[in-house]
């Protein structure tokens, strides 16, 4: 092409979307898991004690905690059931290991449907490398999906009337 500095972003648009980064275009405003996930979810490490983690999570108003390594890669999840375990347990013993995670670019309607159908209380949202972005709560996903569908119906109705 006669250009001296040409680069190939080989991982491409899929990688960009999976990292939850901003985009432009018709679908840019569609609510996605990454935008709805709560980024202030508490985290803990494998070698902590359950009692300490529960105390910290409750003090922050949470009944869940994501277990991560030093790079914030998700290792496990403590939902309300796990947090009620023996206080002296190590997190490694108490956690739900290797939880299902979802990428931030998944449409929120799809996420809400999945979480309701499979009775999932919360799920970590991560980059393709497994790095935690936030925790998506079912109640947030359902509310965001309902809001999107209502707005979509109104806009669609307006177009049809117009």
């Amino acid at each position: 092409m006669g250009f001296s500095r040409v680069f190939d972003y080989g991982s491409g648009k899929q990688d960009w979307l999976a990292a939850g980064l901003p985009t432009e275009g018709r679908a840019a405003d569609v609510p996605r898991a990454g935008a709805v996930a709560r980024r202030d979810v508490p985290t803990c490490s494998l070698d902590e004690r359950l009692g300490d983690v529960r105390h910290r999570a409750e003090a922050a108003g949470w009944d869940a905690c994501v277990v991560v390594d030093g790079s914030r890669v998700v290792l496990g999840l403590l939902r309300s059931d796990e947090l009620r375990g023996r206080p002296d347990q190590r997190i490694e013993e108490a956690m739900r290991p290797g939880p299902s995670t979802f990428r931030p670019n998944v449409h929120i309607v799809e996420m809400a449907g999945f979480m309701v159908e499979h009775d999932v209380e919360s799920t970590p949202i991560t980059t393709g490398d497994g790095v935690l972005i936030g925790l998506l709560l079912r109640e947030d996903a359902v509310a965001a999906a309902s809001d999107f569908q209502r707005r979509h119906r109104e806009e669609h109705g307006a177009h049809e009337r117009g």
């Binding site: 092409m1 250009f3 500095r5 190939d8 491409g12 901003p22 018709r26 679908a27 840019a28």
Partner: protein, 67 residues
């Protein structure tokens, strides 16, 4: 020969003025693309790159992912 780069370097180069080029078809570009990217589908790339792009600035080409 274009050098392969990862997401962090894309972000850094863009802040330094690099031009992003999505080579996917127009419909996919219009649906969603990286901020500031222009659309030059592969079949138009050779013919239009010289007029659409500034040769003095870096160019980052991307599609959906590695084939």
């Amino acid at each position: 020969m274009a050098r392969n780069i990862e997401r962090d370097e894309v972000r850094r180069l863009v802040t330094e003025g690099a031009q992003l080029v999505e080579v996917l078809p127009k419909e996919e570009y219009e649906e969603e693309h990286l901020p500031g990217a222009i659309n030059l589908p592969l079949r138009r790339l050779e013919a239009e790159a010289r007029t659409a792009l500034d040769p003095d600035r870096p160019v980052i080409v991307y599609c959906w992912d590695d084939p």
